[in-house]
């Protein structure tokens, strides 16, 4: 590890906030989901960085769990997108307001 872990953590923060801007600013649900994947990846990078810094496996285990949850989340979210598109014929998160109180 020739690069200090702070650099990795800073990179992880940069990626995380690029993802946050994507989730907030885009209205295409697919691109929002991809931004969420960016968030997962950024958090994983921080976990793996600290795992290496402390030579401890727990960070790897946790990153593994995050990957699993990301896969499950992507599958369910894409299923919801497909169902919404099938019944409404548009893909815009602002138009899907049937559950609004």
């Amino acid at each position: 590890m020739s690069v200090a872990p702070e650099n990795y953590v800073a990179l992880s923060a940069v990626l995380f906030f690029i993802g946050v801007v994507g989730v907030i600013a885009r209205r295409n649900p697919l691109i929002m989901l991809m931004s969420i994947e960016l968030l997962f990846n950024a958090s994983n990078l921080a976990l793996v960085t600290y795992a290496r810094a402390w030579v401890d496996n727990v960070g790897h285990i946790f990153a593994f769990l995050v990957i699993t949850v990301a896969a499950a989340e992507a599958a369910i979210a894409l299923a919801i997108v497909v169902v919404t598109f099938r019944s409404r014929q548009f893909v815009d998160v602002d138009e899907v307001s049937a559950l609004k109180g």
């Binding site: 702070e6 690029i18 209205r27 990153a63 990957i67 896969a71 497909v82």
Partner: protein, 199 residues
């Protein structure tokens, strides 16, 4: 050292491309570059097993799922049009908030430096079968110390599979579409050039 900076630039550029691309398919390509660069980044952190998992699960499974959904949604009669972004209203406050939080996190991370421990002889060196982050090392931890989280993982995946089949299965959400008549898609009849000329 150089690898880190090249990969970091690649990751940031591809992430920005993912967020700003107009077409979802272009975003998928950017995301693929990002995932592969992240896998290489894991290798620089001696997380060999996680690097492979990153390629297999993310680039192999999740991205293919995205590509399939995009293909499915684009193949309708209507072109795949997406409304305007919230850019004018929200992007500037979002960027300001993101930069502030980013500065906070980076300053905090830089102010509390972490001393990096060297991988000792008991941890093995990179490339050994039992080195830190290798498959043997990871698997031993996963199946002994952290067995319960691993089993919960299996449960999460099972719930996800059942949920996806229930939501997007043939019957629609909980069989609701069975009661509704099928929407039939009107197609314009295709006129050949000779037909038009004949009239």
């Amino acid at each position: 050292m150089i690898a880190f900076w090249i990969l970091a630039l690649l990751m940031i550029a591809s992430a920005v491309f993912v967020v700003t691309a107009r077409q979802p398919v272009h975003s998928v390509v950017g995301l693929l570059v990002n995932f592969i660069a992240l896998a290489a980044m894991y290798l620089t952190l001696q997380a060999e097993f996680l690097a492979v998992m990153q390629i297999v699960v993310y680039s192999g499974a999740i991205l293919i799922l995205f590509v399939f959904v995009i293909a499915l949604l684009s193949s309708g009669t209507k072109p795949f049009v997406v409304g305007p972004d919230r850019a004018p209203r929200i992007v500037i406050p979002a960027v300001v908030a993101a930069v502030l939080a980013l500065a906070g996190i980076t300053l905090t991370a830089l102010r509390t430096p972490v001393t990096v421990m060297q991988t000792t002889a008991t941890n093995g060196t990179t490339g050994d079968a039992n080195a830190f982050g290798s498959v043997a090392n990871f698997g031993a931890a996963l199946f002994t110390t952290h067995l319960l989280p691993f089993e919960i993982t299996a449960f999460i995946l099972m719930v996800a599979v059942i949920g996806v089949v229930l939501i997007a299965g043939d019957e629609g959400p909980a069989g609701l579409s069975r009661r509704k008549p099928k929407r039939n898609i009107q197609r314009e009849p295709i006129l050949r050039q000779s037909d038009k000329v004949g009239r």
